[in-house]
């Protein structure tokens, strides 16, 4: 008898496409949260496949902290143009200028936490009732219990104790006025799955993910790119290193790893041999043991 089996990547893909189509069917005004990182690029790619030969029926939303890598912005604009989707940018700088948030001060100042305010405001202003994101359950402890369809109250908050049970693949997107959902189609993917899928599908990524030479300095054992947004201490010195980034966020909180991985195959080998998680280079998670859980409750991605 013939075996009707899918590879793990094909099965994960089928699940993600199913989830994305459910969003299109159950919500009136959904959007894709797009950071320019590999996970949201993967979600956008899956959305393209889900509706082919039609267009992706959602806009892409980017929360711009103003501290992005220039490479990310360049890639974003090209990607959106090729996809033929609408781009909506929420600006953290604007939230600061309007006095809605106050910028952190000091050496470890980051706009990462401020994003939440801008994100919630962008959702509210555009009346999005569902936002697709690239979060994965394997990233961090607090995400291991996240649902595919994650319900948010009218303040955009997540209540880990009061999540709707999610049984089989029947998703309940019913909500009261003003409430909305975050939906995570690649919940069940690991970092390795994403890389293997990117290789399988030949998906283009920002050059930051591949080894390149740049000016960096080391703080708290994390390699940071030098830039105008980070104030260096007297004891810190810039040097040139060949590095790449495992995740892409703000320049102020995204650390690099020394690496010579210049192709997807190299990266996959490196990830397979890696001895620390990809968020191990994120200083925003290191602030306390429950840092991610606290930010999620407030409405972080």
């Amino acid at each position: 008898m013939k075996a009707y089996n899918l590879t793990h990547l094909r099965e994960l893909e089928a699940e993600a496409i199913y989830v994305i189509r459910e969003v299109a069917a159950q919500f009136e005004n959904p959007a894709i949260l797009f950071s320019g990182g590999k996970d949201s690029i993967t979600v956008a790619h899956l959305a393209k496949k889900a509706f082919y030969p039609g267009k992706v029926p959602f806009p892409l939303v980017h929360i711009d902290t103003g501290h992005n890598f220039p490479e990310t912005i360049e890639f974003r604009d090209k990607f959106v143009a090729e996809l033929g989707a609408e781009l909506i940018v929420g600006s953290v700088q604007k939230s600061i200028d309007e006095g809605k948030v106050v910028e952190e001060k000091g050496y470890n100042a980051s706009r990462n936490g401020l994003q939440t305010v801008t994100l919630l405001e962008t959702i509210e202003n555009n009346k999005f009732d569902a936002c697709l994101g690239g979060a994965r359950r394997d990233e961090e402890k607090a995400r291991a219990k996240e649902r595919f369809f994650s319900h948010r109250d009218e303040f955009g908050q997540w209540d880990p104790k009061n999540q709707r049970p999610e049984i089989w693949n029947i998703f309940n997107g019913k909500k009261q006025f003003g409430e909305n959902f975050r939906v995570f189609p690649i919940s069940n993917w690991t970092e390795m799955d994403v890389w293997q899928y990117i290789l399988q599908e030949n998906i283009e990524l920002p050059p930051l993910y591949f080894a390149h030479e740049r000016d960096v300095f080391v703080r708290d054992n994390v390699i940071m790119a030098t830039c105008d947004f980070i104030q260096m201490k007297d004891t810190e010195a810039a040097e040139k290193k060949v590095v790449r980034f495992r995740t892409i966020g703000d320049m102020t909180c995204t650390g690099a790893v020394e690496s010579s991985a210049s192709t997807l195959e190299d990266i996959i080998e490196e990830v397979a041999a890696a001895r620390s998680t990809e968020r191990g280079t994120r200083s925003d998670d290191k602030r306390s043991e429950a840092a991610m859980e606290d930010r999620k409750k407030q409405g972080y991605f």
Binding site: E13, A25, K174, A274, E289
Partner: protein, 426 residues
Amino acid sequence: MSDNNTEAKGYLDMELLRFSTAGSVDDGKSTLIGRLLYDSKSIFEDQYEAIEESSRRKGDENVNLALLTDGLRAEREQGITIDVAYRYFATPKRKFIIADTPGHIQYTRNMVTGASTANLALILVDARNGVVEQTFRHTFIASLLGIPHVVFCINKMDLVDYSQDVYNKIKADIESFSAKLDVKDIRFIPISALKGDNVVNESENMAWHKGGTLLYMLENIHIGSDHNHIDCRFPVQYVIRPQSDKFHDYRGYAGRIAGGVFKPGDDVTVLPSGFTSKIKSIDSYEGELKEAFAPMSVTIQLEDDIDISRGDMIVRENNKPNIGQDVDVMLCWMNDKPLVPNGKYAIKHTTNDARCMVKNVQYKVNVNTLHRIEDDKNIKMNDIARVTLRTTRPLFFDRYSRNRITGSVILIDEATNETVAAGMII
């Protein structure tokens, strides 16, 4: 691309196995998962260092592998798992998704959630205590949720001197009560999660056990038949109409195949209209497919222009599901607010939305003894009961034991929008 790059190429023939874990308090479930992750090298240095540090702070002598799976702050404080948590690891052969469910009595709802998508259930039994009430309950729920494979891990063998007699007695006890349940494939394995015997590495202390390690079993158990590949069922999820110049008249029905194998040229019937047509093509981003089967997500075009929308189902003419508004289900109640007799709820079945009334509660099941309770028909959180539903629109359904996708429903409270129950159609 270099062909000898095995790390990069290995994924081309990896499969996916989803399993749930259940156990009583303190029978070492978290330790077992920690052990699987640790011995299969799925734990990173920073994660290991974090739990090493926590263990030290709590005064543990050994590194407590159970801490790896304790997610939320509330759990860390109380030392219990309060919700389903998902864990991932992979070997060159398979990727594994673990639905880690709490074993507390009040959390039947979480066990049902974790079990609903699993190919396999791991049930832990403490070798010192043997079969306890919760063993019955976990096995019953695994059978109720139609999990194809159930593996009993007789844990803490190190504390009973790795005794084969103890193991055989527990195995016989489980075999005797599970004979009454509908479980297709039952297996047993003696382990010590704490010491690592028979988890990833073979035990030197139990040479009498010839069944290999748990990981070997997880890597090799046959899962190719876990989906229904016989009865063709395609619930229409979304209609794709690009209305672009290039695809002006394109009308594709997007969805995930719930059963059977579809091919271009197949004669099909569309429910509920009953119109018949032929499959013109099965489309994907990569091009047209020669065949498609569960659980693939595809887009189907038909030869004829028929009015089809979300909630309709495409099936084979000579193999139709049941069509009806009266449905008997085993219901697991998942909400603090009890079921309202004759109450009305929203119901979701595949891609179909309707409303329903709970017409009749036939009996409740005592999940610890499997006895029927006929004199108490109040359905509260974590109760399992057989009920009859009357729906506002016909559903196209199969028995749950035949197809887990077309045989399942959820009920939603129309006032709060919360998911209040999971139902398996009988």
